[in-house]
Symmetry: C2
Subunit: 322 residues, 2 copies
């Protein structure tokens, strides 16, 4: 690229005035970065790769892309209750475009700074646009939220709203026509997801299991149920009500929310006696939570209507996730 | 891809019978992996991205590629003296090809197991072939080898041989004609680099600075000199002698070795009084080391002939690295 790799790193990714967090012993510029988690803490690690044309459109606002690339990784830390420490960024770029790099790093560092999460290293190379972030957090030993802890009787909760990102994606792909008034906020949800980092930490010692919602409610709940060796019944009305967008007809909402995708909300379970504490943790974290069902011993995913009657029609369509 | 993401992970990347290392609390399968470095240890982190057509040819043996993708990351751990713990792998694949995946993971896990370095997580997606590995090691606090510790009077050392990988690359690109007898071992060096992990650890408390040679001797030495705020003089004959391949004419060797690239050997400095201990560390690690020059206060890179006379001709061509 016209701008050399080392110039590019120096200009866009090194931040001379930036004070590194206490746990970052050594940042960008050597063969390795050095981290020192506090005593009694475990290091939580997650990695996500975003590919042009698959995870984002080629004309996406680079600032939003910088935000989202880190947000989806922070969402994984949130799901295990970890506090963000640092991240590495490996970036393949077709060209070193100053406008793109300026926007991308602006969105990236704004979110990083909001979470005290330092860029400590990585790689830049020429190639088809590809963004690979590995994020590091710390969590007190043996307190990480896992997918495997859900038990029969636990309540199933979801943070925020679901399905709006998918709505924006489908509109963008021309599969549905969404009026402008409804599209703008849905588009925000697709482009600028909010990782629920504070909620994840507040749920330590409270939630029995957790997962972040990236592939859709039914699929991700399926992962949690299998890891825990349990099943679940969801209340169809509660699920349908998770869509923030007022435009979609009621009859289409259930399927839409269950399929979802790109939500980056937390799905978690907690014992019923923790109900009030869960609501308190959500208030303290500044995000609403909704109880959408219960964990049961019987494997599989079931849906009930407002009268508690099974909804048979929807069942089969989600069997293949389970 | 025909094979779903989760099937692909289960078939090729999860290893049911595999015993995780002690420091890996949680491996593949949750939102995050969990690591617990031993007390008094810092976590060393490095990330490298390999792109098809840039870092490897599209017809490369997938087993060699799996080896090399991890080897270049382990080489960064070696350069800071860290012991490998674990790694994440993010992989973009155009198709889920069983033969390719079988070969790639065979090469990857053979090297990983040789170093007790567990795959703990990552990501798989469809996209132009891209391999992003982030590797984790541990190093006793404040003992990591850095680029910045070289001091005037220190001896400059290199492990193994240099320039052979570049020879194979240039032959492959049709830029030079190398006879078969010379090409085979050079090709091995390009495709199957050996990360100097044991040597890196043996050099803790002994070397004053270190860097791994990935971009070529002159360029990487330049990084070390700048980080340390010093200069160096290299012995031209010692540098020329680093090429293992017997075929290249003596007159071309110096330039070739200085430019190098893809060597994945260690370049390090140590005080002259540590000379014998350096040789001992190398013997213990099963790799030869060669003293190629000395660190000096005066900035810049100089070359001398066997009589200690400056070689002026080569000087200018390396100025732009310094």
């Amino acid at each position: 690229m016209a701008l050399g790799e080392f110039d590019l790193i120096a200009r866009y990714f090194q931040r001379p005035g930036h004070q590194l967090a206490q746990r970052v012993v050594l940042g960008i510029g050597d063969d390795c970065a050095l981290l020192q988690p506090a005593q009694g803490q475990q290091l939580a690690v997650s990695s996500d790769m975003l590919v042009e044309g698959r995870h984002f459109f080629s004309d996406v606002d680079p600032m939003a892309l910088g935000h989202k690339a880190l947000a989806v990784n922070l969402s994984d830390l949130a799901a295990c209750g970890a506090s963000p420490l640092a991240f590495t960024l490996a970036l393949a770029l077709p060209t070193a475009d100053a406008t793109w790099l300026g926007g991308f790093t602006k969105g990236l560092f704004a979110l990083a700074d909001a979470h005290g999460c330092d860029l400590i290293g990585g790689d830049t190379t020429r190639g088809p646009l590809n963004i690979c972030i590995t994020v590091f957090g710390q969590v007190p030993s043996n307190t990480a939220l896992l997918r495997s802890g859900a038990r029969a009787g636990d309540e199933i909760w979801v943070s925020g709203t679901l399905g709006d990102a998918r709505l924006a994606l489908q509109a963008r792909l021309g599969r549905i026509a969404v009026p402008d008034y409804a599209l703008e906020s849905a588009q925000q949800r697709l482009d600028w997801p909010t990782p629920r980092v504070a909620l994840g930490q507040a749920l330590r010692g409270l939630a029995s299991a957790a997962i972040d919602l990236s592939d859709g409610l039914a699929g991700d709940l399926g992962h949690l149920l299998r890891a825990s060796g349990v099943g679940a019944t969801l209340h169809a009305d509660a699920v349908s009500g998770l869509l923030a967008c007022p435009w979609m007809p009621a009859s289409e909402r259930l399927d839409h929310v269950l399929s979802g995708g790109d939500d980056y909300e937390l799905l978690f379970t907690a014992a019923p006696q923790e109900h009030e504490r869960v609501l308190g943790a959500a208030r303290q974290s500044g995000v609403a939570v909704t109880r959408i069902g219960s964990i049961e011993d019987q494997a599989g995913l079931r849906l009930t209507d407002a009268q508690g009657q099974p909804i048979k029609a929807q069942l089969s369509s989600f069997d293949h996730f389970l």
